[in-house]
C-alpha cells in the first residue's frame, strides 16, 4: 500500500506531465504484479464495487474521532472529498504505524478484502474498515478510502498511464491502449496476460480505443484544399463502438462501458451483422425508419437520449418516446481484420457499400456534407442546430484511424454556444483543487420582479476570478442552508450552453446542456440580465 500511496501523493502534487510519467514508470517497475493490474484497473475507471456506503463510513469515522455528525459535514464541505475528510479526521498513531512498517500489506490485499466483505454482514464490514484504518497512516488511509468511495480522479489521464506502461514494458503506446481496453477482470488476469503479446486475442469484446479530435481554432481555410477533407455533422449523442465477433454483439461507450444491455434496439444486429466487424459511431436518439424511406433520419435532441442513460431496465414508454439508433461514422474492423491503418477514403467507401446493402433500422450512415469551398461550409454550419448537431467533424481523407486525441488529421468545428446573462444567487464550495473555495454557483434570471433560479455552473472562470468571487461570497452571504450560501444578487455572468430543453424538474421549466461561465460581466448590473421570457423564447427556437 505504501508504494501506491506514494504514487498517488506524487501524482497529486506534481503539475508536470513528465514527472507524472516518471512516477508511473517508477511505480510499474517496482510494484507487485498483482498490484500493477489493479492500478491499471483503477486508473482506467474499473474500481471494485462499493463495499460500504458513505453514511456507514462517516459513522465509523465520527465514532473513532469522537465528533458530532454536523462537524463531519462541515469538514467534508471544506475539504471537498469524502475519502480525504475521513483520512484527516481519524486520529493518527505515528508510533504504532512505524512499528508495523515491515509487514505492510500490498494494495491487492485491501482490494480483495473489500470484495470479500461486500457480501458480509455490516459488523464484519465495519471490523475490516476500522482495522484497516488503524494499520494505515494518513496518506495510505486516503487511498484506501478512495478505493471504497470511487472515482480516482487524481490528475492522471489514461493517456499518461498508457505511456508509462508502454515505457515500462517496451511496447508501443497504441498497442498498450488497445490491450488494456475492454472487458477484463483485474481480480483474475495477470499483468503478463493483460499487457503481454499473446494476451489480447482471446477477448472477443475487445474494443478499439477511439480516435478523438481537437477543436479547430483557426479558420478552416487553414486546412488547405477542401477536396482533401471529408466533412460530417458532429452528432450530439454518446460516442460508441458496435462490435460483432463469433456471433456475439458488444456495444461500448466512450467511458469504456459495455452498454449492450441498455439498448434493445441494437439487439437484432447480433443476427444481422456479419462476424468480425467493428463500427465507430454515435449512440443517439433516432426516430424509427419509415418503410421504404431512404432519406437520412434527423436525430432527436440530446435531452431525449438522456432519459435512457443510466437506466438498466427500459420501459416500453421510453422505447417509444426516446428510441435509440446508431449513426455510423467509420469501419474499424471487417471480416475480422483491423482496418484502422487503411486510409479513411477506403474505409468510407467500404462502409457506404455495406450500409447500402444492410439497410437496418438501428443503423444510419453519417452523411458526408457536400461543399465547394470553406466559405460555403461556414454557411452550412449555421444549420447545425436545426440538424440537432453540434457543428462539423472535418477528417482528412487520407487519415488512418489513430488512438486517442491527436492533432492534425481530424478536427471538430463546433458552433458557437448559446448565451444568456444571469445573476449569481447561491454559492457552494467546490471539490478537488477548488476545495474550500466557493466555486459552484446557481444563477437566476428575472421573472417579472422575482429572480428565478435556472441553472448551476462550475467552470469557465480563471483561478484569479474564482478567488475574487469567493471573497465576494464570503462577504455578501445572506443565509446559510447546509453547505449552500444565498448571496446578494449582484454579480452578473454571461453563461454559455450547448442546448436547452423543457424540464418539469426545474422551477424555471428549462434545463440547459453543459452550462458554463463564459465571461464575468463586470460591466452589467442585475437590472440588465435576461428574463425567463428570453429563456422560453430560446426553448421555442432551439429546444425542439
Amino acid at each position: 500500500m505504501r508504494h501506491f500511496a506514494a504514487l498517488v501523493a506524487k501524482l497529486g502534487t506534481t503539475t508536470k506531465t513528465n514527472e507524472k510519467l516518471d512516477a508511473l514508470v517508477q511505480y510499474f517497475s517496482v510494484a507487485d504484479d498483482r498490484d500493477k493490474v489493479w492500478v491499471i484497473a483503477i486508473f482506467s475507471g474499473r474500481r471494485p464495487r462499493r463495499a460500504v456506503n458513505t453514511t456507514q463510513l462517516a459513522t465509523y469515522c465520527v465514532e473513532l474521532a469522537k465528533l458530532p455528525f454536523w462537524m463531519f459535514d462541515e469538514c467534508w464541505h471544506t475539504v471537498g472529498d469524502l475519502a480525504e475528510t475521513i483520512a484527516l479526521l481519524l486520529p493518527e498513531n505515528e508510533t504504532a504505524y512505524n512499528e508495523r512498517r515491515d509487514d505492510e500489506r500490498p494494495l491487492y490485499y485491501y482490494i480483495e478484502q473489500l470484495k470479500r466483505i461486500e457480501k458480509e454482514e455490516e459488523p464484519v464490514r465495519k471490523k475490516f474498515i476500522v482495522e484497516s484504518w488503524a494499520e494505515l497512516n494518513r496518506s495510505e488511509r486516503f487511498v484506501f478510502n478512495k478505493l471504497i468511495t470511487g472515482s480516482f480522479r487524481i490528475g492522471v489521464s489514461q493517456k499518461a498511464m498508457v505511456n508509462a506502461l508502454a515505457k515500462a514494458t517496451s511496447a508501443e503506446a497504441s498497442v498498450i491502449a488497445h490491450r488494456i481496453s475492454g472487458n477484463w477482470d483485474p481480480g483474475t488476469i495477470t499483468f503478463d496476460e493483460l499487457t503481454g503479446d499473446e494476451a489480447h486475442a482471446t477477448d472477443l469484446s475487445k474494443p478499439y480505443p477511439f480516435y478523438l479530435a481537437y477543436a479547430l481554432e483557426d479558420e478552416p481555410a487553414s486546412l488547405g484544399n477542401p477536396e482533401d477533407w471529408q466533412v460530417e455533422w458532429k452528432w450530439d449523442g454518446i460516442r460508441g463502438l458496435i462490435i460483432k465477433r463469433q456471433g456475439e454483439l458488444f456495444v461500448w461507450s466512450r467511458g469504456e462501458e459495455l452498454m449492450t444491455e441498455k439498448f434493445p434496439e441494437y439487439h437484432s444486429l447480433q443476427y444481422l451483422l456479419p462476424d468480425g466487424i467493428a463500427l465507430d459511431g454515435e449512440i443517439i436518439s433516432l426516430p424509427p425508419a419509415e418503410a421504404g424511406a431512404t432519406t437520412f433520419r434527423r436525430p432527436l435532441p440530446f435531452s431525449s437520449l438522456q432519459t435512457r442513460i443510466g437506466r438498466k431496465n427500459v420501459t416500453k414508454k421510453q422505447l417509444q418516446e426516446a428510441p435509440a439508433g446508431f449513426i455510423v461514422y467509420d469501419l474499424l474492423e471487417y471480416e475480422g481484420e483491423d482496418w484502422r491503418s487503411r486510409p479513411l477514403s477506403e474505409r468510407r467507401s467500404k462502409l457506404e457499400a455495406l450500409m447500402a446493402q444492410w439497410n437496418y433500422t438501428a443503423l444510419e450512415l453519417s452523411p458526408v456534407v457536400r461543399f465547394e469551398d470553406w466559405e460555403e461550409l461556414k454557411t452550412l454550419r449555421e444549420q447545425s442546430r436545426e440538424m440537432n448537431a453540434e457543428g462539423f467533424m472535418i477528417k482528412k481523407r487520407s487519415s488512418i484511424y489513430q488512438v486517442g486525441r491527436k492533432r492534425g488529421d481530424w478536427w471538430k468545428w463546433k458552433i458557437d454556444p448559446l448565451t444568456i446573462d444571469a445573476v449569481m444567487i447561491y454559492a457552494q464550495k467546490g471539490a478537488g483543487r477548488r476545495s474550500g473555495l466557493y466555486t459552484d454557483y446557481t444563477f437566476a434570471v428575472w421573472d417579472g420582479d422575482k429572480l428565478v433560479p435556472f441553472t448551476k455552473a462550475y467552470s469557465g472562470l480563471t483561478d484569479k476570478e474564482f478567488a475574487q468571487v469567493d471573497a465576494f461570497v464570503k462577504r455578501n452571504s445572506l443565509e446559510k442552508f447546509g453547505p449552500v450560501r444565498t448571496v446578494k444578487p449582484e454579480l452578473v455572468f454571461e453563461l454559455a450552453f450547448e442546448g436547452i430543453a423543457a424540464s418539469n424538474r426545474h422551477k424555471s421549466g428549462v434545463a440547459l446542456r453543459f452550462p458554463r461561465m463564459l465571461r464575468w460581466r463586470k460591466d452589467k448590473t442585475v437590472t440588465e440580465i435576461n428574463t425567463l421570457e428570453d429563456l422560453k423564447r430560446m426553448l421555442e427556437v432551439y429546444g425542439k
Binding site: 502534487t13 506534481t14 484527516l88
Partner: protein, 341 residues
C-alpha cells in the same frame, strides 16, 4: 459595560481608553503581533512587546512606540495590563487586561508548539478569552515541527540531487525565520527575497540571533542561483523574479497545505503543512486552560468552532473582525513588498 467592546474599529477597552489590534487608526493601540492585519498603519501611539517594535518600525515607519516585556505588568487609566507569550511569531503576545476583578485575555494569533524562536505559549487564566480559530476544524492536526522540517530537508536534498533550486514560499515575518535553522542544516547558503530580507535585518539589528541569509539582487552571482535554496513570500509566486533560479521546484509552507485541494490549487511542487497557528487540538487545549466563562471566537471557522464549543460545555460567541483568514496571504499593500519593487 464589559471591559472589552467590539466596535467597528476593533476591540475597545473603555475603562483604559485604548484599542487592541484596531483595523482603523485610533489614538492608542495595543498590538499583539507584527503581522499586517493586526498591526495597522495610522494610529497615534502603539504599545507592543519589545521584539515587535523593530517589526512595526520597519512596517509602519517612524511613530510613537512603547514597549514592554512578557509578564511585566503596567497600568493604563487604572486597567492592569500584561503581555504573555503567544508563540505565534517573534514578539507575539496575548494581552491580559484586569479591571475591578474582571480578567480578559486577547490571544491575537497563537500556537502551542514551541518553534524555537517565538517562545513557549503561556496559558493565562481569565474570565473572558478572545481566541482566533483560523484552523478551527478537526481536519487540521499538525505534525510536530521536527517531522515537517525533516520532510522539507529531504525535499531540498532531492532537488539538489536533481540539479534544481528549492524555492520555499513562506510568510516573510515568522515562517521565513522559522525555516532558517531547518534549511541551515542542508545548505550553507540561504538566499532570500527582499521582503524576507527586510524583516530579517530589522530583527537582526534589534539583536535577535538568526542564521545568515543573502538577499537576492541583480548582482547575486550566477553560480549562486543554480541549485539554490531560497525563501520568498507567496506574492513572488509566478513572477518573473522566480525564473532566475531555473530549473527549480517550489514548495509552499502553510497550514492550508494539509488539504490536498488547497495544495493543488497553489500549483506548487510540494506543500508543507507548517503553521504558526494552533491546530484543532491546540485551540481546544488552550481554551480549556484559560478556564474562561466566556470564549469569543474570531477570524477563522467561527461558526463551526463556536457551535462545537457550546456543545462541549463552553460558553462561546462569534465575533466578526477584519483579521485575515489566510496565513499565506500577504497584503499587496504591505510596505515591505513595496520597498522591494
Amino acid at each position: 459595560m464589559p471591559l472589552i467592546e467590539f466596535t467597528d474599529h476593533g476591540f475597545y477597552c473603555r475603562a483604559g481608553d485604548f484599542f487592541i489590534d484596531p483595523w482603523r487608526p485610533v489614538s492608542k493601540a495595543l498590538i499583539t503581533h507584527g503581522h499586517s492585519d493586526h498591526a495597522r498603519w495610522g494610529s497615534k501611539s502603539y504599545l507592543c512587546h519589545t521584539d515587535t517594535k523593530p517589526i512595526l518600525e520597519t512596517r509602519l515607519g517612524p511613530g510613537h512606540y512603547e514597549t514592554v516585556g512578557y509578564n511585566e505588568p503596567i497600568s493604563i487609566n487604572g486597567v492592569n495590563i500584561s503581555l504573555h507569550p503567544a508563540a505565534h511569531i517573534i514578539g507575539s503576545s496575548q494581552i491580559r487586561l484586569e479591571h475591578k476583578g474582571e480578567v480578559w485575555v486577547v490571544s491575537g494569533d497563537y500556537k502551542l508548539e514551541n518553534d524555537g524562536l517565538s517562545g513557549e505559549f503561556e496559558p493565562v487564566k481569565c474570565h473572558n478569552f478572545i481566541s482566533e480559530c483560523t484552523f478551527g476544524l478537526p481536519i487540521y492536526q499538525w505534525k510536530p515541527q521536527a517531522q515537517i522540517f525533516s520532510d522539507i530537508q529531504q525535499w531540498v536534498l532531492k532537488n539538489k540531487a536533481a540539479g534544481k533550486s528549492s524555492l520555499l514560499f513562506a510568510y516573510s515575518l515568522g515562517k521565513a525565520q522559522r525555516l532558517l535553522p531547518c534549511l541551515a542544516e542542508v545548505t550553507d547558503r540561504i538566499l532570500v527575497h527582499g521582503a524576507v530580507y527586510n524583516v530579517h535585518m530589522a530583527l537582526v539589528n534589534a539583536g535577535i540571533k538568526l542564521p545568515e541569509v543573502h538577499r537576492v539582487t541583480p548582482d547575486t552571482p550566477k553560480e549562486w542561483l543554480k541549485g539554490a535554496v531560497v525563501i520568498a513570500p507567496s506574492s513572488a509566486e509566478g513572477t518573473p523574479w522566480m525564473r532566475r533560479f531555473a530549473p527549480l521546484a517550489t514548495g509552499v509552507c502553510s497550514g492550508w497545505m494539509a488539504v490536498r485541494g488547497a495544495m493543488r490549487r497553489r500549483n506548487a511542487d510540494a506543500g508543507f503543512p507548517l503553521s504558526d497557528h494552533a491546530d484543532w487540538d491546540g485551540l481546544l487545549k488552550a481554551i480549556k486552560a484559560t478556564e474562561a466563562e466566556c470564549v469569543y471566537v474570531t477570524h477563522g471557522f467561527t461558526a463551526a468552532f463556536g457551535r462545537y464549543l457550546n456543545e462541549h460545555g463552553f460558553n462561546a460567541k462569534e465575533v466578526k473582525t477584519e483579521y485575515g483568514d489566510d496565513e499565506t496571504e500577504e497584503k499587496s499593500t504591505d510596505v515591505l513588498e513595496k520597498l522591494e519593487e
